[in-house]
């Protein structure tokens, strides 16, 4: 018993099997995490090495280069970049996508073991740091406070930070902008000198007094007691009475004699302002692999509880919640899918004209789609843009199989079969072609699962999902659909009156359309060469006209409503000035974009240590870091990029600002960020490359296509430096590191010990009085004690002078490099930016040993383009093979595959008309079209061939088949196109991401289908007539040969016999 026969005869089993699949599918759906894009495993590993005191060039030669040379041989390495700055070397390894990062990390570790011994002695052991997208904060909270400001850190750490960190999946919680309590011991240098005490001695004295020691246990009689000595301070004031030294006359010197103890806050901290009010910022980073949306939801649920535990003046708020955008995007995509489903059902109803048939189709669509959730859940996938786009594309395709079966069953019923018999035999007749059309689709989508690189990460899920959906939909069409047809369909003996009044006009229109198409086709096949050449010329002209208007980019920019901005004032600007400018900008932006900005947060000042988030970004008294959240994209008039461009414009006009960077989406390039053209200048000579980079950056800045240009190498920044004379140091029995530590302890401070109170620990820091470290003279007069106890002043050991910071040396693929990045203005494509930049470079006279390369997104884009074209060719070949096998012919697949170039022309034309860029998403559309567009050709050719086999002539077959197949072709095409329209015109959040996909599918499919309807019958007749001519010729030669043979048969036989006799 075949599958369909069994299903029709066992309706309960069949329907319950599918009900079970639906239940498991819905269960999986409820468990699926939500994300923006499929989980992309990180492909970066950083190797950090500290070599204290070494200049950047020394670091480059002694640390970075040996490490680079060794690591260069690690497998699957794509790029090796490094930065060598003062005291630190960071080597970043970028791997090809799709390899297990843990294995790669082990390889890197093995190689590092080899190189460690070759590094300088003073150099610390290199350590490995895995960089991933998880480091990007998922939620930023603000806490504003008035009276509680001073104790804000402790309040937040205990009541917000710790509970949040306990949430499953949360990695680190950092608090910025709230200073920590610190006990400062301010030393008076003059008194210190008088009593002959040093900072070091004081800090040692404090450390050795602040101690609890367990002295073991001892026995008294029959009992054992433990002995403890408790010396830890109960209050900071106790420290006043510590004896730190003895004066020459033997009198004790107490700490109170030389220092002042202040129980206050850290000296240098970052201040954080939210909507103009000072407070703190709480940054939540997730654990690797955890789901942002789930965590964000849990945090949201937790917030009201946390708020209750806080003092009344501390108010929590949300600055940035990355999950908002994800949720909105996924919601609007889900809405799109619902619309698509509705459209598809409508189309089916209009074309089939039967409500029962429409209901059957409407039931089968969700079945195949829901089954794909099981796949997603089983493989640990998520609901994301790619998987949901996939559903949207699939809707139009899953109905096809069901429609084919349904149509044939209906034909059988109309011929008089019993529905049950009609279902079995009707399905039997089309089973092969249903399977063949699924194979065509699988030939398209299966190769997607084999792509490597970034494109592969995106396409893998899509490929597998489509394969699963297509397979399920075929199984469904061959089992569930016949079963439900047998149950629901019946011969329509008399349509109801209401139905007739409603449907009659549609019916008439479709009939007229059929007739008109048949007339047109009849004329076309009789002038086949003229029609074919005009179709080709039209395609070439349209393609040629639209091609120059199409620009390309890597990924569409996603309007996620976030802006990150870093504004740098001239080095050395005081933090108060930065604060004032930040406030001015905030006010101006709030006024300019009323109702568009949700939250503006900014941080100013030097971040303290122990703030892991701040340590990832640069901070300083002259740097302002903005974080803004806008309302969601469909609720504001201005796009994210337009707002960013205006902000840049405003900032660039402020003379106080030295440097600025406004990043749309909070990030640069990559997926969804604002597109930027990146040029890498390679060359050893720092001055040469500096000049070229500057020249390129200046030309780019003058071009309106770029809104922001950044040079990766930092400027030479002014600073003071103490230059010790090594001879003088040695004379006093000192060395550089001891002397440097002395200076550091006096300015930055020495952490003597930790003061414990209520289970919390606070640093006790010993340093100079703030007023005693405000001038160069203060530094020069610092007393350094030699091993013999004699004091020497800094000015006697060296000089304090103004200098410049050495630039950080960047290298890429073992060559020195500086990069110039230009962010593209709104509406200007990446490819155009690259073109402009390349022109500038070509006009420059580059020295012989300097080369310039395009990198960044453009490089990724080129990689992706290469991957996609290979994929495209592979897919076309596979589709051809499947079709050739189905038709057992090479001619028909050739005719059908010609639809693909027409579809490409359609894509180009619609992209050009709508001004959409060519990018990964539109490329994805083009690849899928290869499978969808040939389906129409298959339907047409298959039926024409059928007509031929039934004994009709070529022309008659073509016209008859065209007329008969017009509706199915239009129906399947319209279901796919209408399924895509909500995507192409959608205005929901994130719509800009999938719009190119929708546009390319619509453009390609509509043009491809129209062309198919014309050229396929024409080509069929051209090949047919040539076949006839060839057959006739063959027959004629055969006949002539035959006649000749018959006429000369006797003579030939006689000759042969005679010859034999002679022999």
């Amino acid at each position: 018993m075949s599958l369909y026969e069994g299903s029709v005869k066992k309706p309960i089993m069949t329907s319950l099997v599918f009900v079970a699949i639906m239940i498991v599918g819905l269960f999986s759906f409820s468990k699926l995490p939500i994300d923006l894009v499929p989980d992309i495993e990180s492909n970066m590993i950083m190797v950090m090495t500290y070599y204290p005191g070494a200049a950047s060039e020394d670091i480059e030669n002694n640390v970075t280069r040996p490490i680079e040379n060794t690591l260069n041989s690690v497998e699957h390495l794509k790029h090796l970049t490094s930065t060598s700055s003062e005291g630190t070397s960071v080597v970043t390894l970028e791997f090809e996508f799709g390899y297990d990062i843990d294995v790669l990390t082990n390889n890197v570790r093995d190689k590092l073991d080899m190189v460690s011994s070759a590094l300088p002695d003073a150099c610390q052991k290199p350590y490995i740091f895995k960089f991933s997208a998880d480091m990007i904060p998922i939620v930023m909270l603000s806490a504003t406070a008035s009276e509680s400001q001073a104790a804000l850190y402790k309040i937040l750490d205990e009541n917000v930070g710790n509970p949040l960190a306990r949430i499953d999946g949360v990695g680190t919680v950092s608090i910025a902008g709230a200073p920590k309590r610190e006990i400062n011991v301010y030393m008076d240098p003059n008194k210190m000198e008088a009593y002959h005490v040093s900072v070091e001695a004081v800090s040692q004295a404090i450390a050795s007094e602040n101690m609890n020691v367990s002295a073991g246990s001892f026995d008294i009689g029959s009992n054992t007691y433990t002995l403890r000595i408790e010396g830890e301070f109960d209050s900071p004031a106790e420290m006043n009475n510590i004896i730190v030294a003895h004066a020459a006359n033997g009198a004790a010197v107490y700490l109170r004699d030389v220092a002042r103890i202040v129980d206050s806050l850290e000296e240098r901290t970052q201040k954080s302002f939210t909507n103009g009010q000072q407070g703190a910022m709480i940054i939540v980073q997730k654990q690797s692999g955890a789901n942002s949306v789930q965590i964000a939801n849990k945090i949201h649920a937790e917030l009201p509880k946390l708020q209750k535990q806080l003092p009344p003046d501390v108010k929590l708020g949300i600055i940035v919640d990355t999950s908002d955008n994800i949720k909105n995007t996924i919601n609007s995509l889900t809405e799109t899918i619902c619309y698509a489903m509705l459209f598809v059902v409508l189309v089916v109803f209009v074309f089939l004209g039967r409500w029962r048939a429409t209901v059957i189709i409407a039931i089968t669509i969700p079945m195949s789609l829901i089954a794909s959730f099981i796949y997603l859940y089983a493989t640990g996938g998520s609901l994301n843009m790619i998987s949901l786009s996939c559903l949207s594309i699939a809707i139009g395709n899953v109905v096809d199989d069901a429609i084919v079966v349904l149509e044939n069953v209906t034909t059988h019923i109309e011929r008089g079969s019993d529905p049950k018999q009609a279902a079995i035999h009707g399905t039997n007749e089309v089973a092969i072609s249903v399977i063949a059309s699924t194979l065509t689709m699988i030939a398209v989508f299966f190769p997607l699962t084999m792509v490597s690189g970034m494109t592969g990460v995106l396409f893998k899920q899509l490929g597998w999902m489509m394969c699963v959906i297509m397979t399920v939909s075929t199984v469904n069409a061959l089992s569930f659909t016949p079963m439900i047809c047998a149950q629901m369909l019946k011969l329509q003996k008399k349509p109801s009156k209401i139905f007739l009044t409603f449907y009659k006009p549609i019916q008439n229109f479709l009939d007229k359309l059929d007739a008109a198409y048949a007339r047109m086709l009849n004329a076309a096949v009789r002038h086949r060469w003229a029609v074919l050449s005009s179709v080709i010329i039209l395609a070439v002209v349209v393609g040629g006209l639209s091609f120059p208007f199409i620009e390309s980019e890597y990924f569409p920019t996603n309007d996620n409503g976030r802006i990150g901005a870093t504004i740098e004032l001239p080095m050395g600007t005081r933090v108060e000035k930065a604060e004032e400018i930040a406030k001015r900008l905030t006010d101006s932006w709030n006024k300019k974009y009323p109702g568009m900005i949700k939250v503006i947060n900014y941080r100013v000042g030097q971040a303290g240590s122990g703030n892991s988030f701040a340590s990832m970004s640069s901070s300083g008294p002259h740097i302002i870091s903005f974080n803004m959240s806008l309302v969601q994209s469909n609720e504001r008039d201005k796009g994210l990029i337009a707002i960013c461009d205006e902000m840049r414009d405003e900032v660039s006009k402020m003379p106080e600002i030295a440097k600025y960077e406004v990043l749309a989406g909070g990030q640069q390039g990559g997926m969804g960020g604002q597109n930027a053209a990146e040029f890498e200048i390679y060359g050893y000579d720092l001055n040469q490359t500096d000049q070229i980079a500057k020249a390129l950056a200046d030309s780019m800045r003058n071009n309106p296509s770029f809104v922001q240009v950044k040079i990766s190498r930092s400027d030479y920044e002014p600073r003071y430096q103490v230059e010790f004379d090594r001879e003088k140091l040695a004379l006093h029995g000192l060395n550089l590191s001891t002397a440097a530590t002395y200076v550091r302890n006096r300015i930055y401070g020495a952490t003597a010990t930790r003061f414990r109170e209520d289970g919390e620990e606070y640093d006790v820091k010993v340093h100079y009085e703030p007023m005693q470290r405000i001038s160069v003279e203060d530094i020069e007069n610092m007393m350094i004690y030699t091993p013999t106890g004699a004091g020497v002043r800094v000015k006697d050991l060296g000089v304090v002078k103004e200098g410049f910071t050495l630039p950080t040396i960047e290298r890429k693929d073992r060559q020195r490099m500086v990069s110039v990045t230009g962010t593209m203005a709104d509406g200007i494509a990446l490819s155009k930016g690259v073109k402009i930049g390349q022109q500038y470079i070509n006009n420059m006279e580059l020295p012989a040993n300097v080369t310039v390369q395009v990198a960044g997104s453009y490089e990724d884009q080129m990689d992706a383009a290469k991957d996609m074209s290979t994929l495209f060719i592979l897919i076309v070949i596979l589709v051809f093979i499947v079709m050739a096998a189905q038709f057992e012919s090479m001619t028909y697949p050739f005719i059908i595959i010609l639809a693909i170039p027409f579809a490409l022309v359609g894509i180009l034309a619609l992209l050009a008309l709508t001004g959409t860029n060519l990018n990964i998403m539109s490329g994805m559309g083009a690849i899928m079209l290869a499978g969808i567009v040939v389906k129409n050709g298959i339907v047409l050719i298959d039926y024409t061939q059928l007509m031929r086999e039934r004994g009709m002539g070529y022309i008659q077959s073509a016209v008859r088949a065209g007329r008969s197949r017009l509706r199915p072709v239009l129906m399947t095409t319209l279901t796919t196109i209408l399924g895509m329209i909500p995507m192409a015109v959608g205005t929901g959040v994130g719509a800009e991401m999938w719009r190119p996909l929708g546009i390319s599918v619509i453009g390609g499919l509509s043009v491809g289908t129209l062309m198919t309807l014309i050229y396929v019958p024409v080509m069929f007749c051209i090949f047919g007539s040539s076949t006839i001519r060839r057959t006739r010729k063959k027959l004629r030669t055969q006949r002539e040969l035959n006649e000749y043979y018959l006429a000369h048969k006797d003579k030939m036989v006689r000759d042969r016999v005679n010859k034999k006799i002679e022999d």
Binding site: H412, E414, R415, G416, S417, D418, K420, Q421, A422, H425, N428, E429, Q945, L946, E949, R950
Partner: protein, 97 residues
Amino acid sequence: MKSVMIMYDQAFQEKIVDLLTRSNCRGFSCFPQIQGRGSKTGEPHFGTHAWPSMCSAILTVVEDEKVDGLLEKLHAMDKETEMLGLRAFVWNVEKTI
């Protein structure tokens, strides 16, 4: 005794077996999946790409008086759905065991 050979589109299968049962014609032999073509308008039943449908045939031997009734019912069935095609032929049974 007469033998009735019924040739029909395989969609009739259940209906015909049902008819035979109702007409008290218990014994029959069925030839499923056979190819054929009608003499005048009958569509070919070849099970090929061009003509995908197939026929079946049933040979039943019945008492003489049942033949007319059976043929009438079969004819009615054929008239109802002429597109499918159903024919019956009757001939004598000389001997049986």
